[in-house]
Symmetry: C2
Subunit: 385 residues, 2 copies
C-alpha cells in the first residue's frame, strides 16, 4: 500500500538501465485527477541539483500532472548538459501522457557529478508510461525504483474519512534535511487546492522530516512532493488533513531513520525545558551532530559528558550546570553533575532515548538521529567507486 | 626539546596514580622568573570544566607562577566538589612552591563527569614539585604526562635572536577549537609584558589552532597558556615574537592533526577566492565537518560532489555553480561541473590537499582536518568503559 492507495493515481517502477546492476531505477507517478493540485518543498542546500532547479519552476503554479524519479545518478553539478537531460525527461513524460512538460516534476538521486544519459532516461520514461497501473504492485515498484543504499522500500498509507493519503520515501545517507528532505512522494485523493496543500505540507515536514538528522549532511536533491487528485470527492478540513499528513510524514521519517546507512541505533533526542521550540531544536541538533556522542552510542557507552559537551556549543539560553540528562530511563546527570551510575544504563536495544532537561522554559522538541558506526564509514568510504 | 628549552622554567611529569594504567598523568611547570608574565586562551564551549573556570580567574591579572596539568580525568560537570579539587590542587602547588594559589593555573583532561580524587592530586603535586628540573628529560616527562589517547608527545622549540620559545601539546579527539584549543603550554624566556603576550597569543592561535577541526567536537577543557620568564633579558619586538609564536603554534597544530584519533589522512582544505577571510574559514569548516566527505577520503575516493554538497550549506557569498575543486593537484570540478576524471586523483598519500576556488573575491584560509575512519569510530565507541 503506497502512492497508488488513494484514488486517481497510476504508478510504475522499471529498470531503465541507469543503474549498472539492472535494478529498478526509474519511477513515474501520474495524477489522473479530476484535480491536479500539487505542492513541494525542496532542499535548502544552495547547491541544488538540476531536477530541483526544474521542479521549483514546475511546482510554482500549484499544478502538477506527473512526477518522474530516477535513482542511479543525482544529476547535480552536471552543468547545462545536466539541465537539458532533466528537461528532456519531463518533455518525454509530457508527450507520452498528453500533458504539459511544465506540469511534470523530476527528481533524481545517486552520485553527484556524473552525467545521466538522456536517451536512456527518455526510453525509460516511455517504457514506464506503458506500464502505468493503479494497483499495489505498481506503487511498490515505484517505491523500489527510487532506492539507492536503502535496504528496503518505505511506504505509508493513512486513511481519512472518505479519503486517504499514500506515500513513498527513499533516503539512507546525506540525511539531514533543512526545510525540506529526501525524495518523498505523497498522494491523496482529498479534494484540496494547492495553497492548502502547500501549508499542510510545510506544517507536516517542519515537525517530521526536518527533525530527522541522521548524519548531519544536507543533500543537494531533497524534495517532498504532495499530489492531490480530488478523486474521493471529499474536501476534508485543513486541520484534520494536516494531522493525517503529519502522521504519514512521521511514519516515513521513522522508516528512514530505521534504515539509515550502517546504523545500529535509532536515537531519539528529546529536549525539554527550553525557552523556545527553536532553542530545543538547536540543542537537540547539536547532540545529533556530535560524532563522539554518536560513536559512544554505537559502543553502548552512556557517555553523558559528550551530551553536555555538545550542547555547550549551542547558543540557546540555558545554564549548562543546571541540566539533567536521562538515558533510557536512567538519570545519569543531575544539575550538571554525576547522578546514577553509568552502568545502570542498558543501551543494547536499537532505540536509544536521550532526555535533556534544560530547566530554562516550557518548550520542547525531539530530534531523530543514528549512531556513528563502522558500517557507516564503510558504506560511505567507497560509494562512487 | 620542549617547555624547558627557554631559560627560567622547571618542569616535571610523574605518575600520580590518577590513571589506572600507571602511566604518567600529572605535570607541573614553574616559571622561575625574573618575570612571571602569562596569558591564556580558553575554550569557547559554554560547558567549561572546573579547571577552566579556575584558570580564567588566575590568568586575568597577567601574572602566572606555575601550571599544574593532569590527564586521567577532565574534572568537568563534577559540580562544587570538582571545583574544590581544582582549588586544592592549586593550593598544594602554591604552598610547595612558595607562591600564591591565585597565580597557579590548573588544566585537566580525560573523561567528563567523573570526580578526581583530591588527595591523589595533592600528593601528586608535592611529588612532582620535588622532581622539578630544567633539563630536556623533565620537559619531555611533562609532555608525556598530559597525553590521553595521543600516541606520542608533541613538543616544539623555536629560536629567536637571543631568546627562544618552547612548547608542548596534547589533543587527539574532541578536536575542534573555537577561539581556543587543546591543552597547550608554551614557554619563552623573552622579556615581554602580559598584554603583549596576550595579543601575540590571540593572533597566533587565530590562524593555527583555530583552523584545526579534526572531528567537529569542541572540548570543555581546551586551554593554551603562554608563560614568559624574561630570563634571556631580551625584549623582542612584538611582530617578530608573534611570528615565532605563530610558527610554534602551527608546528604543534600539525602534530595534533598528524596524531588525531584513528585518522589515516591529514586533510588540508585550502579555500581561495572568498570575499572575506571569515567566509573562507566558514566554507573550509563546512567541508571539514562533513562526515560523507571525510569517509570518502578514508576510502581514497575523490568524491568532489560531497565537497560541493557541503559548501552549499555555508552562508558565505559565492555561486556554487562557478566553483572549482582540485584534489591533490587534479582539477576534478570546474565551474560546478565535472572536469578531469576522478581516477586521475591519487589519494594514497597521508596528506590530502583539497583546493576550493570560489571565484568570489581575493581572501583565503586553510582548515586542517582528518578523515573519518573505522579506527576513529572504534576508539570513540568505548572510551569511558
Amino acid at each position: 500500500m503506497t502512492v497508488t492507495a488513494p484514488a486517481g493515481f497510476d504508478a510504475a517502477g522499471i529498470a531503465a538501465g541507469i543503474k549498472r546492476t539492472g535494478a529498478l531505477d526509474l519511477a513515474v507517478i501520474v495524477n489522473r485527477g479530476p484535480s491536479q493540485a500539487g505542492a513541494a518543498v525542496f532542499t535548502s542546500n544552495r547547491a541544488k541539483a538540476n531536477p530541483i532547479l526544474w521542479s521549483q519552476q514546475v511546482a510554482a503554479d500549484g499544478v502538477v500532472s506527473a512526477i518522474v524519479l530516477n535513482s542511479g545518478g543525482a544529476n547535480c553539478f552536471t552543468g547545462h548538459q545536466g539541465f537539458q537531460v532533466t528537461h528532456r525527461t519531463a518533455e518525454a513524460a509530457a508527450t507520452a501522457l498528453g500533458v504539459s512538460a511544465g506540469d511534470v516534476l523530476v527528481c533524481s538521486t545517486g552520485l553527484i557529478g556524473d552525467q545521466l544519459d538522456g536517451e536512456v532516461l527518455e526510453e525509460g520514461v516511455l517504457s514506464a508510461v506503458n506500464r502505468l497501473a493503479s494497483d499495489d504492485a505498481a506503487g511498490l515498484d515505484a517505491a523500489r525504483a527510487i532506492m539507492t543504499t536503502d535496504t528496503k522500500p518505505k511506504t505509508v498509507v493513512v486513511t481519512g474519512d472518505g479519503w486517504s493519503i499514500g506515500g513513498m520515501a527513499k533516503g539512507a545517507g546525506m540525511l539531514a534535511p533543512g526545510l525540506a528532505t529526501m525524495l518523498v512522494v505523497i498522494t491523496t485523493d482529498a479534494d484540496l487546492p494547492a495553497d492548502t496543500l502547500d501549508r499542510a505540507l510545510r506544517a507536516a515536514t517542519r515537525v517530521t522530516f526536518d527533525r530527522l538528522d541522521s548524519d548531519g549532511c544536507m543533500s543537494t536533491n531533497d524534495q517532498v512532493t504532495l499530489l492531490a487528485s480530488g478523486a474521493s470527492g471529499v474536501a476534508p478540513d485543513e486541520a484534520s488533513f494536516t494531522e493525517s499528513l503529519t502522521e504519514a510524514c512521521r511514519d516515513l521519517a521513522l522508516q528512514l531513520q530505521g534504515d539509515a546507512e550502517g546504523a545500529s541505533h535509532d536515537i531519539v533526542i528529546e529536549v525539554r525545558g527550553a525557552e523556545t521550540e527553536g532553542d530545543a531544536v538547536e540543542v537537540g541538533r547539536s547532540v545529533a551532530r556530535n560524532n563522539l556522542f554518536k560513536a559512544a552510542i554505537f559502543g553502548n557507552d552512556p557517555n553523558w559528558g559528550r551530551v553536555l559537551a555538545a550542547i555547550g556549543t549551542a547558543s540557546a539560553p540555558f545554564d549548562p550546570y543546571l541540566v539533567d540528562v536521562t538515558m533510557n530511563g536512567v538519570r545519569v546527570c543531575h544539575s550538571g553533575g554525576p547522578d546514577r551510575p553509568r552502568d545502570e544504563v542498558d543501551l543494547t536495544p536499537r532505540t536509544t532515548h536521550v532526555l535533556i532537561e534544560l530547566h530554562a522554559g516550557e518548550a520542547s522538541a525531539t530530534i531523530l538521529t543514528n549512531d556513528l558506526t563502522h558500517d557507516y564509514v564503510h558504506e560511505n568510504s567507497a560509494y562512487s567507486s
